[in-house]
């Protein structure tokens, strides 16, 4: 069952997702070229390991995705990295919501005000027709993709944290978790200070 899913996803990834993801990057770049303080555009086709890990997620004792190929919506992901926190708001309002049709928007923050971890603005968007059209296998192309808007510090933390999560099978121990939270807190603080400095310079 698992090997069949791996094989199906690998085929989908190689034949479609990788190409759509590449074209999506070009499309976003063409639309965003006049926006200032955009540090980078990243797109990716979800890796096979990451897809399978997500497909196997258990929620309250039940397998979360019964039909992962059709249910997992971030098989294609895009991330826009900007300098400051206020740029996240600007890109959200003046770019993403203007040029894309979204079906979901959430600001992801840790569960408790006393915790530090992942921060970011997330959207689930319809894949633009400009990107889908022309693929031989258009019918198997995903309908949706995930778009994240991050500051430089959120991006750096997210990348390192993601890398650590896939380093091995073992869970992080208590001290390691505290260290990860510490780096998130530092990134959060740096964003806050840079935003203040940026606003100060603008006034």
């Amino acid at each position: 069952m698992k090997s069949e899913l791996i094989s199906r996803y690998r085929k989908l990834r190689e034949n479609i997702l990788v190409h759509v993801s590449r074209d999506l990057k070009g499309y976003i770049e063409s639309l965003i070229q006049d926006f200032i303080r955009v540090d980078g555009i990243y797109t990716r086709a979800k890796s096979v390991d990451s897809f399978i890990k997500k497909a196997e997620q258990i929620d309250n004792g039940i397998v979360k995705y019964k039909d992962p190929i059709n249910q997992i919506q971030d098989q294609i992901g895009a991330r826009i990295v900007v300098n400051y926190l206020s740029d996240v708001k600007r890109i959200k309002e003046e770019f993403v919501e203007l040029y894309f049709k979204h079906i979901e928007n959430k600001r992801i923050v840790p569960d408790s005000d006393k915790e530090f971890g992942y921060f970011g603005e997330h959207y689930i968007l319809l894949l633009p027709e400009d990107v889908i059209d022309g693929f031989e296998n258009e019918e198997n192309c995903p309908v949706l993709f995930e778009m994240q808007i991050h500051t430089l510090f959120q991006h750096a933390w997210g990348e390192a944290n993601h890398d650590l999560a896939f380093k091995g099978d073992k869970e992080l121990d208590s001290l390691s978790k505290r260290k990860v939270a510490f780096t998130s807190a530092q990134a959060w603080g740096a964003d806050l200070i840079f935003e203040e400095l940026h606003k100060g310079m603008m006034n």
């Binding site: 203007l98 894309f100 979204h102 059209d133 995903p142 309908v143």
Partner: protein
């Protein structure tokens, strides 16, 4: 393509009515043993791809959550096609129907197309008519108020198709055959209020496509007639803010010649973008066509914002010489530049 089931619901106007005055939704199943009606709806089901020309997409909840009550009801119906389940859609339509829209018949036609579930929804308005029946040598005339489909071409419809209710059914298409002036009405009652959807193409994206096509077409052509048509339209387009249109309709509205239309449409990445409906955004338009420039054969180039060009430069024809003009402008110098490009 195959029709499996057809359900029919009588939908009263209910928006703004007190709870005690609301009507229950009455329904019935249309079976193949009602061949004329079944056939008529089957044809509409098959032709829906051509009829429903406005691409729409469901909207999220106001707080951004990925949920849409209308989509949920559609998915419930597609997964459990039943008269009672379909009644939720009819109740939704009833709750947003005003007296202006009036009484209507909602048909839910469910079937399959190339292995995909296909749902066609159509609302026909009530009309009036006269029933004339010959009986034992007499003629009986009855005035009837609940006549539907008197004009089978006047209806609102929506079409959804998909293989997976998880992955698909986010995008659909719709049409309103009861109005002739674009999609403003359809977007309010049928698309926004009932289907909880918006046009798939955002105002900014649609306007950007139009503006870039006009700009590129004007830059690419050497034909002065085409350039002139494009520039006139580009200036007049500033009055379109908020209006719904497609690029093809834009070309027709400003009377583009066939060759001008062709130059514009060939600038589009996909031919079907010519028919895509969107709401014109002046803000986006101005971002993409901010300036008008006139280049003269003596080496001069006159540049001003599109909306101010004709105020900035007055043009006078030089008598006796073809296509030669005197341009004049008056003002203080506020800046001078050396530029690499025009």
């Amino acid at each position: 393509m195959r029709v499996d089931q057809i359900f029919c619901y009588l939908v009263h106007p209910e928006k703004g009515l007190d709870e005690d005055k609301r009507e229950e939704v009455k329904s019935t199943v249309i079976k193949p043993n009602n061949p004329r009606l079944f056939r008529l709806l089957s044809i509409a089901f098959e032709k829906a791809d051509y009829e429903c020309k406005h691409e729409i997409a469901f909207s999220p909840m106001e707080d951004g959550r990925q949920s849409n009550d209308c989509r949920n009801e559609i998915i419930d119906f597609v997964e459990n096609p039943d008269e009672l389940v379909g009644a939720y859609l009819a109740k939704r339509l009833q709750s947003v129907t005003t007296n202006k829209s009036g009484l209507g018949l909602l048909f839910l036609v469910l079937g399959e197309n190339r292995g995909k579930k296909r749902l066609y929804m159509a609302r026909f308005p009530a009309d009036i008519g006269i029933l004339a029946e010959e009986e034992q040598g007499n003629l009986n005339i009855v005035f009837v108020e609940k006549v539907f489909m008197r004009n089978a071409l006047a209806y609102k419809a929506a079409l959804y198709e998909g293989a997976s209710t998880d992955r698909d059914f986010w995008i659909g298409s719709a049409v309103d055959k009861q109005i002739s002036d674009g999609v403003r009405e359809i977007s309010n009652y049928w698309i926004r209020d009932f289907l909880l959807s918006e046009l798939r193409t955002t105002p900014a994206l649609g306007t950007r496509r139009l503006a870039i096509a006009l700009r590129e077409a004007a830059n690419i052509t050497d034909d002065s007639g085409i350039k002139s048509e494009l520039i006139s339209a580009a200036v007049l387009a500033r009055g379109l803010d908020g209006q719904f249109l497609s690029i093809e309709e834009f070309a027709d509205r400003y009377g583009f010649s066939d060759k001008t239309k062709e130059v514009v449409l060939t600038q589009l990445k996909l031919p079907r973008f010519a028919h895509t409906q969107f709401q014109f955004s002046l803000e986006e338009y101005t971002k993409n066509i901010p300036y008008k420039m006139v280049e003269i054969d003596n080496g001069a180039a006159l540049l001003a914002t599109v909306e101010k060009f004709d105020d900035c430069f007055s043009t006078e024809v030089v008598e006796g010489v073809d296509n030669v003009f005197i341009f004049s402008t008056t003002g203080k110098i506020v800046n001078q530049q050396l530029r690499k490009s025009k």
